[in-house]
Protein backbone atom coordinates (compact mmCIF):
# COMPACT_ATOMS: atom_id res chain seq x y z
CA UNK A 1 0.00 0.00 0.00
CA UNK A 2 1.05 3.63 -0.24
CA UNK A 3 3.13 5.18 2.50
CA UNK A 4 3.92 8.83 3.39
CA UNK A 5 6.41 10.69 1.18
CA UNK A 6 6.38 7.80 -1.28
CA UNK A 7 8.12 8.68 -4.55
CA UNK A 8 8.10 5.47 -6.58
CA UNK A 9 5.67 2.73 -7.50
CA UNK A 10 4.30 0.34 -4.89
CA UNK A 11 5.96 -3.09 -4.69
CA UNK A 12 4.51 -5.57 -7.16
CA UNK A 13 2.05 -8.25 -6.17
CA UNK A 14 1.42 -9.58 -9.65
CA UNK A 15 3.73 -10.67 -12.47
CA UNK A 16 2.38 -7.91 -14.73
CA UNK A 17 3.23 -5.25 -12.18
CA UNK A 18 6.76 -6.63 -11.87
CA UNK A 19 7.17 -6.20 -15.62
CA UNK A 20 5.68 -2.70 -15.42
CA UNK A 21 8.14 -1.72 -12.70
CA UNK A 22 11.07 -3.04 -14.75
CA UNK A 23 9.90 -1.12 -17.80
CA UNK A 24 9.43 2.02 -15.72
CA UNK A 25 12.95 1.73 -14.29
CA UNK A 26 14.41 1.16 -17.79
CA UNK A 27 12.60 4.15 -19.30
CA UNK A 28 13.24 6.45 -16.36
CA UNK A 29 16.93 5.65 -16.43
CA UNK A 30 17.09 6.57 -20.12
CA UNK A 31 15.15 9.78 -19.43
CA UNK A 32 17.47 10.73 -16.56
CA UNK A 33 20.61 10.04 -18.61
CA UNK A 34 19.34 12.13 -21.52
CA UNK A 35 18.29 14.97 -19.22
CA UNK A 36 21.64 14.95 -17.44
CA UNK A 37 23.52 15.07 -20.73
CA UNK A 38 21.38 17.93 -22.06
CA UNK A 39 21.68 19.87 -18.80
CA UNK A 40 25.46 19.43 -18.79
CA UNK A 41 25.71 20.53 -22.42
CA UNK A 42 23.64 23.63 -21.79
CA UNK A 43 25.62 24.46 -18.65
CA UNK A 44 29.01 24.21 -20.37
CA UNK A 45 27.80 26.12 -23.43
CA UNK A 46 26.34 28.96 -21.37
CA UNK A 47 29.36 29.32 -19.07
CA UNK A 48 32.03 29.00 -21.77
CA UNK A 49 34.28 31.98 -22.72
CA UNK A 50 35.06 30.47 -26.17
CA UNK A 51 33.56 32.05 -29.28
CA UNK A 52 33.68 30.79 -32.87
CA UNK A 53 31.95 33.08 -35.32
CA UNK A 54 32.70 30.81 -38.31
CA UNK A 55 30.95 27.61 -37.22
CA UNK A 56 27.76 27.36 -39.27
CA UNK A 57 26.82 23.69 -39.54
CA UNK A 58 28.26 20.22 -39.34
CA UNK A 59 26.98 17.18 -41.20
CA UNK A 60 28.69 14.74 -38.84
CA UNK A 61 27.09 15.85 -35.61
CA UNK A 62 23.71 16.29 -37.26
CA UNK A 63 23.80 12.68 -38.42
CA UNK A 64 24.77 11.49 -34.95
CA UNK A 65 22.08 13.42 -33.17
CA UNK A 66 19.46 12.10 -35.54
CA UNK A 67 20.40 8.43 -35.38
CA UNK A 68 21.15 8.22 -31.64
CA UNK A 69 17.74 9.51 -30.43
CA UNK A 70 15.97 7.30 -32.95
CA UNK A 71 17.87 4.31 -31.58
CA UNK A 72 17.06 5.29 -28.00
CA UNK A 73 13.38 5.61 -28.82
CA UNK A 74 13.46 2.21 -30.51
CA UNK A 75 14.98 0.73 -27.34
CA UNK A 76 12.10 2.21 -25.35
CA UNK A 77 9.41 1.20 -27.82
CA UNK A 78 10.31 -2.49 -28.07
CA UNK A 79 9.81 -3.37 -24.37
CA UNK A 80 6.80 -1.08 -24.29
CA UNK A 81 4.97 -2.85 -27.10
CA UNK A 82 5.94 -6.25 -25.74
CA UNK A 83 4.46 -5.34 -22.36
CA UNK A 84 1.36 -3.84 -23.95
CA UNK A 85 0.59 -7.03 -25.85
CA UNK A 86 1.46 -9.16 -22.82
CA UNK A 87 -1.00 -7.28 -20.63
CA UNK A 88 -3.74 -7.91 -23.20
CA UNK A 89 -3.41 -11.68 -23.25
CA UNK A 90 -6.21 -13.97 -22.12
CA UNK A 91 -4.91 -16.29 -19.43
CA UNK A 92 -7.72 -18.83 -18.75
CA UNK A 93 -9.16 -17.30 -15.59
CA UNK A 94 -10.06 -19.57 -12.67
CA UNK A 95 -12.60 -17.10 -11.34
CA UNK A 96 -14.72 -14.23 -12.63
CA UNK A 97 -15.64 -11.35 -10.32
CA UNK A 98 -17.97 -8.59 -11.37
CA UNK A 99 -17.65 -5.17 -9.80
CA UNK A 100 -20.04 -2.29 -10.18
CA UNK A 101 -19.16 1.26 -9.22
CA UNK A 102 -21.82 3.27 -7.50
CA UNK A 103 -21.91 6.66 -5.88
CA UNK A 104 -20.05 6.09 -3.57
CA UNK A 105 -19.17 2.43 -3.02
CA UNK A 106 -18.20 -0.67 -4.99
CA UNK A 107 -20.28 -3.82 -5.16
CA UNK A 108 -18.86 -7.23 -5.98
CA UNK A 109 -20.57 -10.25 -7.49
CA UNK A 110 -19.21 -13.79 -7.55
CA UNK A 111 -21.68 -15.63 -9.74
CA UNK A 112 -19.62 -18.54 -11.11
CA UNK A 113 -21.25 -21.11 -8.84
CA UNK A 114 -23.67 -19.54 -6.39
CA UNK A 115 -24.94 -15.96 -6.30
CA UNK A 116 -22.66 -14.11 -3.90
CA UNK A 117 -23.15 -10.33 -4.00
CA UNK A 118 -22.14 -7.70 -1.48
CA UNK A 119 -21.40 -4.01 -1.19
CA UNK A 120 -18.09 -2.59 -0.05
CA UNK A 121 -18.31 0.74 1.77
CA UNK A 122 -15.37 2.68 3.17
CA UNK A 123 -15.02 2.49 6.97
CA UNK A 124 -15.47 6.10 8.18
CA UNK A 125 -12.45 7.58 9.97
CA UNK A 126 -14.22 7.81 13.32
CA UNK A 127 -15.08 4.10 13.18
CA UNK A 128 -11.55 2.83 12.53
CA UNK A 129 -9.96 0.53 15.10
CA UNK A 130 -6.24 1.02 15.88
CA UNK A 131 -4.09 -0.47 13.14
CA UNK A 132 -6.55 0.13 10.31
CA UNK A 133 -5.70 2.49 7.47
CA UNK A 134 -7.58 5.77 7.03
CA UNK A 135 -9.58 6.14 3.80
CA UNK A 136 -8.50 2.68 2.60
CA UNK A 137 -10.38 0.15 4.69
CA UNK A 138 -13.75 -1.23 3.66
CA UNK A 139 -16.37 -3.18 5.56
CA UNK A 140 -16.26 -6.11 3.10
CA UNK A 141 -13.12 -6.94 1.14
CA UNK A 142 -13.03 -8.51 -2.29
CA UNK A 143 -11.43 -11.88 -1.59
CA UNK A 144 -9.59 -13.79 -4.29
CA UNK A 145 -7.39 -16.91 -4.25
CA UNK A 146 -3.63 -16.52 -4.74
CA UNK A 147 -1.84 -17.80 -7.83
CA UNK A 148 -5.14 -17.93 -9.72
CA UNK A 149 -5.89 -15.83 -12.79
CA UNK A 150 -8.93 -13.71 -11.96
CA UNK A 151 -11.12 -12.07 -14.58
CA UNK A 152 -12.67 -8.74 -13.51
CA UNK A 153 -15.74 -7.44 -15.28
CA UNK A 154 -16.16 -3.81 -14.41
CA UNK A 155 -19.05 -1.45 -14.95
CA UNK A 156 -20.89 1.33 -13.16
CA UNK A 157 -24.36 2.19 -12.12
CA UNK A 158 -24.46 5.97 -12.34
CA UNK A 159 -21.36 8.01 -13.21
CA UNK A 160 -17.95 6.94 -14.43
CA UNK A 161 -15.72 5.41 -11.79
CA UNK A 162 -12.43 3.55 -12.12
CA UNK A 163 -11.34 0.38 -10.33
CA UNK A 164 -7.65 0.52 -9.52
CA UNK A 165 -5.25 -1.49 -7.34
CA UNK A 166 -1.71 -0.15 -7.95
CA UNK A 167 0.20 -3.06 -6.44
CA UNK A 168 -1.51 -5.46 -8.85
CA UNK A 169 -0.96 -3.13 -11.80
CA UNK A 170 -4.69 -2.93 -12.44
CA UNK A 171 -6.77 0.05 -13.44
CA UNK A 172 -9.93 -0.10 -15.51
CA UNK A 173 -12.67 2.46 -15.97
CA UNK A 174 -16.18 1.64 -14.78
CA UNK A 175 -18.53 3.15 -17.35
CA UNK A 176 -22.34 2.90 -17.22
CA UNK A 177 -23.66 0.86 -20.10
CA UNK A 178 -20.29 -0.74 -20.83
CA UNK A 179 -18.59 -3.85 -19.53
CA UNK A 180 -14.80 -3.64 -19.32
CA UNK A 181 -12.68 -6.71 -18.73
CA UNK A 182 -9.27 -7.05 -17.14
CA UNK A 183 -7.36 -9.92 -15.59
CA UNK A 184 -4.76 -10.26 -12.90
CA UNK A 185 -2.93 -12.87 -10.81
CA UNK A 186 -2.11 -12.26 -7.16
CA UNK A 187 1.32 -13.75 -6.39
CA UNK A 188 1.19 -13.87 -2.60
CA UNK A 189 -1.45 -13.56 0.15
CA UNK A 190 -2.19 -10.21 1.71
CA UNK A 191 -4.49 -7.22 1.67
CA UNK A 192 -4.05 -4.73 -1.18
CA UNK A 193 -5.64 -1.33 -1.44
CA UNK A 194 -6.72 0.99 -4.20
CA UNK A 195 -8.89 4.03 -4.63
CA UNK A 196 -11.54 5.10 -7.12
CA UNK A 197 -9.63 6.69 -9.99
CA UNK A 198 -12.23 8.70 -11.87
CA UNK A 199 -13.92 11.76 -10.42
CA UNK A 200 -17.46 10.79 -9.56
CA UNK A 201 -18.87 13.36 -7.19
CA UNK A 202 -18.66 14.44 -3.59
CA UNK A 203 -17.27 11.22 -2.11
CA UNK A 204 -14.98 10.21 -4.95
CA UNK A 205 -12.04 10.09 -2.51
CA UNK A 206 -14.01 7.95 -0.09
CA UNK A 207 -14.84 4.80 -2.03
CA UNK A 208 -11.71 2.67 -1.76
CA UNK A 209 -11.06 -0.85 -2.99
CA UNK A 210 -9.52 -3.52 -0.81
CA UNK A 211 -8.56 -6.90 -2.20
CA UNK A 212 -7.69 -9.76 0.14
CA UNK A 213 -5.79 -12.67 -1.37
CA UNK A 214 -5.91 -15.99 0.47
CA UNK A 215 -4.66 -19.45 -0.48
CA UNK A 216 -7.08 -21.36 -2.68
CA UNK A 217 -7.81 -24.04 -0.05
CA UNK A 218 -9.30 -21.36 2.22
CA UNK A 219 -11.17 -19.51 -0.51
CA UNK A 220 -14.20 -21.76 -0.44
CA UNK A 221 -14.48 -21.34 3.35
CA UNK A 222 -14.71 -17.61 2.84
CA UNK A 223 -17.29 -17.75 0.07
CA UNK A 224 -19.44 -20.18 2.08
CA UNK A 225 -19.29 -17.95 5.15
CA UNK A 226 -20.13 -14.86 3.08
CA UNK A 227 -23.09 -16.59 1.46
CA UNK A 228 -24.37 -17.52 4.93
CA UNK A 229 -23.86 -13.98 6.21
CA UNK A 230 -25.39 -11.98 3.36
Amino acid sequence: MAYPLQLGLQDATSPVMEELIQFHDHTLMIALLVSTMVFYTILTTVTSKLTNKNMLDSQGIETIWTIAPALILFLIAMPSLRLLYMMDEVNNPHLTVKTIGHQWYWSYEYTDYKNLEFDSYMIPTQDLIPGQFRLLETDHRMVVPTDSPVRMLITADDTIHSWAVPTLGVKMDAIPGRLNQTTFVVSHPGVFYGQCSEICGANHSFMPISVEAIPLIHFEDWSTSMLAKI
Binding site: Q59, E62, I67, A70, R82, Y85, M86, D88, E89, V90
Partner: protein, 85 residues
Protein backbone atom coordinates in the same frame (compact mmCIF):
# COMPACT_ATOMS: atom_id res chain seq x y z
CA UNK B 1 4.75 18.54 -56.78
CA UNK B 2 7.81 17.09 -58.53
CA UNK B 3 9.59 20.45 -58.24
CA UNK B 4 9.29 20.07 -54.46
CA UNK B 5 11.09 16.72 -54.63
CA UNK B 6 13.77 18.18 -56.90
CA UNK B 7 14.33 21.01 -54.42
CA UNK B 8 14.64 18.59 -51.55
CA UNK B 9 17.00 16.39 -53.59
CA UNK B 10 19.26 19.38 -54.28
CA UNK B 11 19.32 20.29 -50.58
CA UNK B 12 20.17 16.71 -49.68
CA UNK B 13 23.33 16.83 -51.80
CA UNK B 14 24.73 19.67 -49.70
CA UNK B 15 23.28 18.38 -46.42
CA UNK B 16 23.58 14.58 -46.45
CA UNK B 17 22.98 14.47 -42.70
CA UNK B 18 19.29 14.92 -43.48
CA UNK B 19 19.08 11.47 -45.08
CA UNK B 20 18.73 9.57 -41.76
CA UNK B 21 15.90 11.97 -40.90
CA UNK B 22 14.00 10.98 -44.02
CA UNK B 23 14.65 7.33 -43.30
CA UNK B 24 13.35 7.43 -39.74
CA UNK B 25 10.40 9.77 -40.30
CA UNK B 26 9.48 8.06 -43.56
CA UNK B 27 9.84 4.62 -42.02
CA UNK B 28 7.79 5.61 -38.98
CA UNK B 29 5.01 7.08 -41.09
CA UNK B 30 5.02 4.02 -43.37
CA UNK B 31 4.83 1.61 -40.44
CA UNK B 32 1.98 3.58 -38.86
CA UNK B 33 0.01 3.62 -42.10
CA UNK B 34 0.61 -0.10 -42.67
CA UNK B 35 -0.58 -0.90 -39.14
CA UNK B 36 -3.66 1.28 -39.55
CA UNK B 37 -4.38 -0.51 -42.82
CA UNK B 38 -4.00 -3.87 -41.08
CA UNK B 39 -6.38 -2.76 -38.35
CA UNK B 40 -8.91 -1.52 -40.89
CA UNK B 41 -8.86 -4.71 -42.94
CA UNK B 42 -8.06 -7.53 -40.49
CA UNK B 43 -9.47 -6.37 -37.14
CA UNK B 44 -12.60 -8.38 -36.33
CA UNK B 45 -14.20 -5.31 -34.77
CA UNK B 46 -14.43 -3.60 -38.20
CA UNK B 47 -17.26 -4.42 -40.60
CA UNK B 48 -16.96 -3.34 -44.25
CA UNK B 49 -19.42 -5.65 -46.01
CA UNK B 50 -22.75 -5.13 -44.30
CA UNK B 51 -24.56 -7.60 -46.50
CA UNK B 52 -22.29 -10.64 -46.54
CA UNK B 53 -20.24 -10.26 -43.36
CA UNK B 54 -22.03 -7.83 -41.07
CA UNK B 55 -20.52 -9.00 -37.76
CA UNK B 56 -16.99 -10.32 -38.27
CA UNK B 57 -16.42 -10.61 -34.54
CA UNK B 58 -18.74 -13.60 -34.52
CA UNK B 59 -16.49 -15.53 -36.88
CA UNK B 60 -13.29 -15.73 -34.83
CA UNK B 61 -12.17 -19.19 -33.80
CA UNK B 62 -10.98 -19.70 -30.19
CA UNK B 63 -7.51 -20.63 -31.43
CA UNK B 64 -7.18 -17.92 -34.05
CA UNK B 65 -4.65 -15.16 -33.50
CA UNK B 66 -6.06 -11.80 -34.51
CA UNK B 67 -3.53 -9.64 -32.73
CA UNK B 68 -0.36 -8.53 -34.38
CA UNK B 69 1.98 -9.97 -31.79
CA UNK B 70 1.74 -12.44 -28.90
CA UNK B 71 4.20 -12.71 -26.05
CA UNK B 72 3.23 -15.75 -24.02
CA UNK B 73 0.20 -17.27 -25.74
CA UNK B 74 0.63 -19.64 -28.65
CA UNK B 75 -2.79 -19.48 -30.29
CA UNK B 76 -2.27 -22.57 -32.42
CA UNK B 77 -1.73 -24.64 -29.24
CA UNK B 78 -4.95 -23.46 -27.56
CA UNK B 79 -7.76 -25.96 -27.19
CA UNK B 80 -10.76 -25.54 -29.41
CA UNK B 81 -13.41 -26.79 -27.01
CA UNK B 82 -16.36 -24.77 -28.19
CA UNK B 83 -19.06 -25.80 -30.69
CA UNK B 84 -19.14 -24.27 -34.16
CA UNK B 85 -22.15 -22.23 -35.16
Amino acid sequence: MSSMFRMVGKQLKTHPSLIPLFIFIGGGATMSMLYLGRLALKNPDVSWDHKNNPEPWNNIEPNQQYKFFTVNTDYSKLKKDRPDF
